[in-house]
Symmetry: C3
Subunit: 133 residues, 3 copies
């Protein structure tokens, strides 16, 4: 079963927790056991699974990714100027696959599913595809 969600981001770089929405869609699918793919159809945003407890983790992750993949670079050619966004999206990944067990995403205690904006703020979307065993 396939679900299509929209969201609005508010910063250039931002990790938005979509765990509750993803879990609600998995529940709505009625599928008890299988997998779910959370998929980002953008090339300057991605999906990551990471810590849901301390918000400072998001701060630090975005800070360092921005140093490793800086916004400006003397040899970048891409006219749109957002090469860094593409590199960050490739690093986090375009999608994440989670196990569905007993109708719920089988996440670790500290895991959340994040929509990672790397070129916002924008209107964005993502898909949740649930596959039964």
């Amino acid at each position: 079963m396939l679900f299509h969600e929209k969201l609005r981001t508010s910063k250039r770089d931002e990790m938005i927790d979509i765990t509750r929405q993803a879990a609600a869609l998995i529940a709505r699918s009625g599928i008890r056991d299988g997998i779910a793919i959370v998929y980002c159809p953008h090339t300057t945003a991605g999906i990551a699974i990471n810590e849901n407890a301390d918000p400072d983790v998001k701060h630090d992750v975005l800070l360092r990714l921005d140093e490793v993949y800086p916004w400006t670079h003397p040899e970048y050619r891409h006219a749109e100027g957002n090469t860094a966004s593409h590199l960050k999206a490739i690093t986090t990944g375009t999608s994440q696959t989670v196990v569905v067990a007993d109708g719920r995403p089988l996440l670790g205690r500290w895991q959340g599913i994040y929509f990672c904006e790397f070129d916002g703020p924008r209107e964005r979307e993502y898909y949740v595809k649930v596959m039964a065993d």
Copy 2:
């Protein structure tokens, strides 16, 4: 359904658009709804989903990845000398999963599927596995 494809790369670092081939194999599978996994069986090449419009994005992505994971390093031990290729492949990922809807990969408007060569030129291969709902 499982498909096995071959390709020849022509540079050390290269992103080759395989979207059309992947879409053709998904169509050939006859599966209307499900997922497809594009899988790279190499450890010095990977699969990424990224922008299909401006070729300068590929240039910039490969340029910066080569700075973050440089070819030579005073402390590298791997005798084959291609540690950087392994690091780049880990960063892009060995495979990508896409949603199949109505017999087609559900990609975003600007998304393409890329075979990422990081130690070419070589004869390479990849798999496309299509799973039905």
Copy 3:
């Protein structure tokens, strides 16, 4: 079919080959053709597919990841102090999907599946989910 495995890591940064265990679980599932998801429920460890031949590759990969994502950083805020572990886990990925063909993971000749510890030593766990065609 879903399997739950435990392991003990022995270093802060470590890549542990779990290919044999994953293959044994896939065989035990009785599923001949499909996919398997190897999933890490931690946020400071990940799963990667990489070279299984020269152990120096692991050395070099961990060395360079530690430079790109250093343990200490003047602007890190995360009180637990392991931001680097989160960044490394995001880079390798929380899970890997492999094709199952004829009851076995369809890996390339040089590919192994690795549990990547980035904040050890610890008691850790992972899941292997096998989905039939």
